[in-house]
Symmetry: C2
Subunit: 342 residues, 2 copies
DNA sequence: CTGAAAGCGCTAACAT
DNA sequence: ATGTTAGCGCTTTCAG
């Protein structure tokens, strides 16, 4: 399993071939000024001939930085994360930092912690979407590497942390449903494991709105599942098959809302006349569904701006004093799957 | 802008604190067998106390490998790529390789080449989705690092290359439309720059089907644009506004098809009764749209399997002799936006 | 303008 | 069972 060391061209090879020192080669490659024009050409020629490429591992070891920030998300396929990744990539590009995305595999907190933190040193900074992590685990991590957490509710931690207002967003969404006459609001998506994770928070907002409107919650309307399209579809089908009536659906994210819309259409139910539907996340697709999906916008731009600002600050200035904790407000987006207020 | 070297804990620090050599620390960390139980504990304790974390840059420099494979795609937000990334991550995990995804920014071939190849050495292997790259540029690259190209038509290159059958998929899709009575098939999406890029190939299949069916093509039905939802929407709107009649839409990908579906619905046109619609890519969302989108499936599983096999082979066995060129067949998926064949 | 020396943090190979 | 030596490929001093 050995590498064929002979095929790897090093800087020393180039230097030898061009009859200069490695230092001069280094200078040419990095476009440093004080190199003779003719020398430069000789070096460039040698590089071309030998097909030399810098060894970034060595460069990084030396430089102590990599120029890349990692973004660790539970899953790549979820449009929310894919779109977040795009927005962050845009912003970090402006700071000459490249974003690379990796997957943690969600709920499995072990894996997440392991992956994300063992690799910390590969990155100048890490943006970690915490899904289900135990605050205690976070607490034991010894590192002053630049890290920004995104996702859940306030965590006791020494890391900067930006979150969307899950509870309030869910409250607003549910309240709108209730205010426009719904009395039996199904809640769809999210695993039923306690914890302060995202589904739990959105569920909290759902409960809150019911309490405020003094509308009782029927626990049978609580359909928990994973967050795929299929889960949204099957959740609604299950409700229908079991004959459990409902006049609105609060989907814990837009993806399951999409699945729900489909199930409703298949059942011949009209949206929003028979059943209102509202999602969460405001993914790009929401506006283009038929009918267009009402949803909760978690403030995409502000979120991305905050994350970028926080992380770049840490990277350039080193560990900051107090960890910041930023809550980006959520906003209802009314489209065609809900009935307007009055 | 100096790093605070004092806060970085190295293996030597741990060794000193535990009263052993760095080698012993290394052995403990890597779980190598021949370490005394009591020594091990001392080391572990020191690690915990100091909050030591391995420096992966150094490890990689030493090991000559990183355990990560890069996936460079034009854009993260496109569900096709997001879903591809997920499938690849699954498969590479089985080989103890982690996939990290980065964005090349599509069409700008310079950037793409630059990004993808300058970083080659960071990865044990690279999967590069070539969008618009000039074969000549690829040709000049000197490297025998493991690379698998995905995307377009056959390229003269020394890299393994797996592609979907763009032309045939498009031909099948268009042929179905024509066979079920459509005579004016709008083609939607894709920049109109010549080249052997994806849009051009799918356009070729479109033309081919028309030729085979002896149906003339009205160039005004060719609406080229970018590949966002909005572009699909606006493309159809433009056709409608200009009063250019059409009875079917071949969308160059599912995302623009989604936009088109929405525009059609807004205009009160029934799908497929008034206008048939077919997309390309078979993204997960397609099956859940209302109505469910007929599309061309590019053989997702086979594609991912092939890519994984090719790249892992290169990584473990070194440069192979002949570069492989694999075309994964495309298959029509009939759902609700097209009328069935007779 | 160019070069020599030293060392980033780690681990394979060889002592002990 | 543990330590010593050497060096991965690069770049930062500091000398020419």
């Amino acid at each position: 399993m050995r590498q064929k060391a002979s095929t790897v061209v090093t800087m020393a090879d180039v230097a030898r071939s061009a009859g200069v020192s490695t230092m001069t080669v280094s200078n040419v490659i990095n476009g440093r000024p004080r190199v003779g024009a003719e020398t430069k050409e000789r070096v460039l020629a040698a590089i071309g001939e030998l097909g030399y490429q810098v060894n970034l591992a060595a460069r990084h070891l030396r430089a102590g930085r990599t120029g890349v920030v990692g973004l660790a998300v539970p899953e790549l396929e979820n449009p929310y994360f894919a779109q977040l990744a795009g927005r962050l990539a845009d912003r970090f590009e402006a700071h000459d930092l490249r974003v690379v995305v990796e997957r943690t595999g969600a709920s499995r907190e072990r894996e997440m912690e392991a992956v994300a933190f063992s690799r910390l040193r590969m990155y100048d900074g890490l943006i970690l979407s915490v899904v289900d992590i135990d605050p205690a685990e976070l607490g034991q991590l010894r590192t002053d590497a630049p890290v920004v957490l995104i996702g859940e509710r306030a965590l006791p931690s020494r890391f900067d942390h930006v979150m969307m207002d899950n509870v309030d967003g869910a409250r607003q969404a549910t309240a709108h449903l209730l205010a426009t006459g719904a009395r039996r609001v199904a809640m769809l998506g999210g695993e039923p494991d306690g914890a302060a994770n995202m589904p739990a928070l959105r569920a909290e907002g759902y409960a809150l709105a019911h309490a405020e409107a003094a509308v009782p919650v029927d626990p049978r309307l609580n359909i928990r599942s994973s967050f795929r399209l299929q889960d949204g579809y099957e959740g609604i089908r299950a409700l229908l098959d079991r004959g459990i009536g409902f006049d609105a659906v609060f989907a814990l994210n837009d993806v399951v809302a999409m699945g729900a819309l489909r199930a409703l259409a298949d059942a011949g139910l009209r949206v929003p006349a028979d059943v209102q539907v509202i999602g969460f996340d405001d993914i790009d697709e929401a506006a283009y569904l038929v009918p267009a999906l009402s949803t909760v916008s978690p403030g995409h731009a502000e979120m991305a701006d905050r994350i970028t600002a926080l992380l770049t600050a840490q990277i350039t200035d080193g560990p900051t004093g107090e960890p910041q904790e930023i809550v980006v407000p959520a906003r209802l987006v009314h489209r065609a799957t809900t009935t307007p207020l009055s």
